[in-house]
């Protein structure tokens, strides 16, 4: 029977936490039973939603049951004896009513809080998924990785096959110790377009370790891993469904992976991708006799029942000491360790950037909450008479504070739900872009749902936000002056004032907005400029793809695979040129519009002293390696000297673009350049500049096109590399045939990302565009908060001085005089914020861009100041009109 995929992880985790211990196993198994039936009858997607709903239902019902049991005595009694004001459902009803009664505050405050919480949730989710991921297997937290950490290289020493054998024989606290070697191979099957898929050669213990039974057939056995055994393969669910049509008759049929033909013996269920994102598993047969030999592998194991991680670590450390004593030279920098399998934490613990990110999240929440608290305080000020009367009727201060806090909690709770939805939506979008659009391999233990820990974190942020937003206004509103407030409220005036704290918050908000606006505007200008410039390149006529070659390691010195690759590349080029419409083909380490590495450059003219070249991208130049026809194919004419020919392969010659030629100064031909020493290494050899090529116009910087230096390279030096075919007519018409052509030439050639060049540019720019739009949303929110804060200040000012306004109007004061008198303070705060913000702009730009002239900032600063003034005045308009509508007779009666 084919079993459907596992239930949603978060819902499952919530269920297990909500259930009492004695019900956990039977109830989860019962729900799995119903889930399985629903998935088969109504589809997996609907079954997953049903499961989530059940998890929430169980959580709520069992929590309520526990509360009922406890409040019947015990904790409920103790709570009442402490005289802590009880929270009732009525408080929540009032909180919801307040949201409806003040829609402006609810909308603005809620939106601001939801954005802050979304940022917090996303940050935490990334941290949790990167640093503390859980494997979706039975007792998945007991699956570990064993590795030798190279302290010098700052990463694991990957050639661990020798140590695998030692660990298998010598460790007692770990079982099912095995290894996996990851690679990519073309999947070749009749009438199926070939496609590279992630493959693993594994020891058969991998399947016993994960305890995941196959969907069909069997997994690998020890017999399969013996030398000379027939070649067999287990296929992943995604490949089985997508490439092999989900054919249940696949068992026993033969597929080809690269050059290996293997019989399919099993199909794994959906979601299985151990060790990372693999979709086919071959037996690992390689053994070695010496440490450091063999291919790179990852070693995994499971803690035996009763063993702890600490005990396993101690045991592995002991074995490591014995190995080090036997071979000190090889193991001098190696530190054996045992870590949770999917953990990315190094031996030095969490990187400092994680702590900085989490602190940043709190600062954002603090800043936003302070602003929303201003709005809450204004709202509370308008309800002062209500609070005073409640106090007079016997409500304790604590009762009123609890009610105001619950109102804040309702706002923060609604904002948290919205924030989590926003974060979940962004995660889904990123997942879709990565997995579906770009087909980037995605670790199987990660999904686009929020982790349970993240949901708890969001709940924590909601509580913190509620306290930040509601506590201070509540304390102020119920302070010692409440009694005197009773007298003032009957006189038509308010006792609550916008004191120093709130004034500071408003000024700071306006100042920060003034600071952020030019930065956001500058970043936006740059982003859209870059996209516009790159889009202007005639990129429609190029079809591009990345190409890799099985078995060719970077820096390969062995001639046999290099010769084979050269022949394969020449044949591939010939076959592409034979395609209709293709009139040129070239190969490079990058393409116009893709990222190129940045390098420092040193130059020397004749016998003059060498000098450092100040490249126009972070002080560096971009480096590219290309075959000889590269410039012709992309229509980049030479403006001086010559291009590359066969004689330049292996020679010390380079070509530079116009930008770099201008930077070098004078006539660049004959100038010698080299890459200076980096971190204890020797400097590179000198190269002579033999040509200057026109700028491609695809890498804009503030100083024009980026500086580029080009090296001639043979194809084997460029794999993995990018091939570009110039096509007359629609370039994407060739796309479906590229994989087949490459496979026909050599099954070891793997093709990725077959795209037109303009699609490459779009994909490159999309993340920056999305980030820029996101930043603009945050800035817009900041402007909104500034306006809301000023508006709130004005409204309270009018309420507070209603009687005074009435008297002034009765005595014949003009409208201008009234507005001037009442709103002078708000205008002062707006002005102070704008001035402070401009000072911050000057300070920050001086700090970050030392050579910037003040005159460069005048226009942007003026523009932002005018914008904030307009925003401030607009925010004051409604309260101003309200003030002018005050009837003197009504004001004098004491009715506000």
């Amino acid at each position: 029977m084919i079993r459907p995929e596992r239930p949603p992880r978060f819902a499952r985790a919530l269920l297990e936490r909500a259930l009492p211990a004695e019900l956990r196993e039977p109830v989860t198994a019962d729900l799995d039973e119903i889930y399985g039936r629903r998935a088969l009858r109504r589809g997996v997607a609907r079954a997953r939603w049903w499961y989530r709903a059940q998890a929430l239902s169980f959580a709520f019902r069992f929590l309520w049951e526990r509360l009922r049991e406890r409040t019947d005595g015990g904790i409920g009694e103790r709570w009442r004896m402490m005289k802590v004001p009880a929270i009732s459902a009525l408080d929540f009803k009032l909180g919801i009513r307040m949201l409806r009664r003040y829609p402006g505050l609810s909308l603005i405050g809620g939106m601001a809080l939801s954005v802050a919480i979304a940022i917090g949730v996303l940050t935490f989710e990334v941290v949790v998924q990167e640093l503390s991921p859980s494997l979706p297997f039975e007792d998945g937290d007991r699956i570990v990785r064993i590795e030798n950490w190279d302290r010098q290289a700052g990463g694991p020493e990957p050639h661990a096959l020798y140590d695998l054998q030692v660990w298998q024989d010598g460790l007692r606290s770990l079982e099912q110790i095995g290894a996996a070697r990851s690679m990519e191979r073309n999947l070749i099957f009749p009438e199926v377009p070939p496609r590279p898929i992630p493959v693993a050669e594994v020891t058969p213990s991998a399947f016993a370790l994960t305890r995941v039974p196959p969907l069909l057939g069997r997994t690998l056995l020890e017999a399969d891993a013996q030398p000379g055994a027939p070649e067999v393969v287990v296929i992943g669910h995604e490949v089985w469904q997508r490439e092999l049509d989900g054919d249940p008759g696949m068992i026993g049929r033969t597929v080809q992976l690269g050059e290996t033909r293997a019989t399919v013996v099993g199909i794994m269920p959906e979601g299985f991708g151990f060790p990372r994102f693999q979709q086919a598993w071959l037996p690992l047969r390689e053994t070695v006799d010496e440490p450091g030999e063999g291919p790179p592998v990852v070693v995994f194991a499971r803690l035996v029942p009763g063993a702890t991680l600490e005990r396993a670590r101690a045991e592995v450390a002991g074995v490591g000491q014995r190995l080090a004593a036997a071979d000190p030279a090889f193991r001098e920098h190696l530190q054996p360790r045992v870590v949770p399998f999917a953990s990315a934490v190094g031996p030095n613990g969490l990187p400092i950037v994680v702590y900085v990110m989490l602190v940043g999240v709190f600062l954002v929440l603090l800043a936003v909450s302070a602003n929303v608290a201003t709005l809450m305080f204004a709202r509370t000020a308008l309800r002062e008479s209500e609070i005073v009367v409640r106090n007079a009727l016997g409500a304790t201060r604590g009762r009123v504070i609890v009610q105001l806090l619950v109102e804040s909690l309702v706002l923060a709770g609604a904002a948290t739900l919205a924030g989590m939805l926003i974060a979940w939506g962004i995660l889904r979008f990123l997942w879709y872009q990565a997995v579906v659009v770009r087909q980037v391999p995605w670790p199987f233990w990660r999904d686009a749902d929020l982790e349970p820990a993240t949901v708890l974190w969001a709940a924590g942020l909601a509580l913190i936000g509620a306290v930040l937003v509601g506590l201070l206004p509540a304390l102020k509103a119920t302070g010692a002056k409440v009694q005197s407030g009773l007298a003032q409220s009957t006189a038509g005036a308010s006792g609550l004032r916008f004191g120093g704290v709130w004034s500071f918050v408003i000024i700071a908000q306006v100042a920060l907005t003034v600071l952020c606006l030019p930065i956001a505007m500058g970043a936006s200008r740059e982003t859209f400029r870059d996209h516009r410039v790159r889009s202007a390149f005639a990129s429609q006529g190029f079809l591009t793809f990345e190409v890799q070659f099985d078995g060719l390691r970077e820096g390969e010195q062995d001639e046999a695979p290099r010769d084979r690759l050269e022949r394969a590349h020449q044949e591939l080029e010939r076959r592409l040129l034979a395609e209709p419409g293709v009139d040129a083909v070239t190969l490079g380490s990058g393409l116009p519009g893709t990222n190129h590495p940045l390098r420092r450059l040193e130059a020397q003219r004749g016998d003059d002293e060498p000098f450092m070249v100040q490249g126009n991208t972070e002080g560096r130049v971009r480096m590219s390696r290309v075959t000889s026809g590269f410039f012709d194919v992309f229509g980049l004419p030479l403006v001086a000297g010559r291009g590359f020919d066969q004689a330049d392969l292996g020679a010390s010659t380079v070509v530079v673009n116009e930008s770099l030629a201008r930077n070098l100064g004078g006539n660049p031909l004959g100038t010698h350049v080299r890459y200076p020493a980096e971190e204890g290494e020797e400097p590179g050899p000198w190269h002579e500049v033999v040509g200057v090529v026109t700028n491609a116009g695809m890498e804009p910087t503030d100083g024009g096109e980026a500086d580029f230096i080009y090296h001639a390279a043979a194809p084997f030096e460029l794999y993995p590399g990018y091939i570009a075919a110039r096509v007359r007519g629609a370039a994407d018409g060739l796309a479906p045939r590229v994989s087949s052509i490459a496979l026909d030439v050599d099954p070891a050639l793997r093709v990725y990302d077959v795209l037109t060049l303009d699609e490459v540019v779009r994909r490159r720019d999309l993340p920056t565009l999305v980030t820029t739009v996101g930043a603009n949303v945050v800035v817009a929110m900041a402007i909104m908060l500034s306006a809301a804060g000023l508006f709130a200040l004005m409204v309270v000012a009018v309420e507070r001085r209603t009687r005074e306004i009435g008297i002034r109007l009765a005595l014949g004061a003009g409208s201008q005089g009234v507005i001037r008198a009442v709103f002078a303070r708000a205008a002062a705060q707006l002005g102070a914020g704008i001035v402070l913000g401009n000072l911050l702009v000057v300070g920050v730009f001086r700090l970050l861009a030392g050579g910037l002239q003040l005159s460069d900032l005048v226009l942007p600063m003026m523009g932002v100041s005018i914008l904030m003034t307009v925003v401030g005045v607009a925010a004051c308009t409604v309260p101003a009109l309200r003030a002018l509508r005050v009837q003197p007779t009504e004001a004098l009666k004491g009715v506000g």
Binding site: E25, P26, T28, A29, S57, F58, E65
Partner: protein, 110 residues
């Protein structure tokens, strides 16, 4: 007049257990109530009610053997206790007493 009368859903759960006779655990109890009443039933409501009934001494539950087809997890079976039967009969008697003399089809209100 000792124990509190059974709630409507408590009665449904007890009756479903009695109707099933064998292999009585959460899933068939839920399905039996749905089948007989024609309404959708929350499994959470069933399990909470079973727990409550057990605390009142009206139902007894026990863990069965671990089953390979359930990933090695057992079922929790339930059986109505004599006190449970007594409570059901009392609830039936109360409802019958209220229904007595009334046309089962219920006449239109005057």
């Amino acid at each position: 007049m000792g124990q509190k009368p059974l709630g409507e859903f408590e009665q449904m759960v007890l009756l479903a257990i009695l109707r099933l006779e064998t292999e009585v655990y959460g899933v068939p109890i839920t399905e039996e109530i749905e089948r007989c009443t024609g309404r959708s039933v929350s499994p959470a409501a069933v399990y909470v009610t079973l727990r409550r009934l057990e605390k009142k001494g009206l139902v007894h539950s026990w863990l069965g053997d671990a089953l390979p087809e359930r990933g090695g997890k057992p079922r929790r079976y339930a059986r109505v206790q004599p006190e449970g039967l007594k409570a059901l009969r009392e609830s039936r008697r109360m409802m019958d007493a209220l229904w007595q003399g009334l046309d089962p089809a219920l006449p239109e209100p005057k």
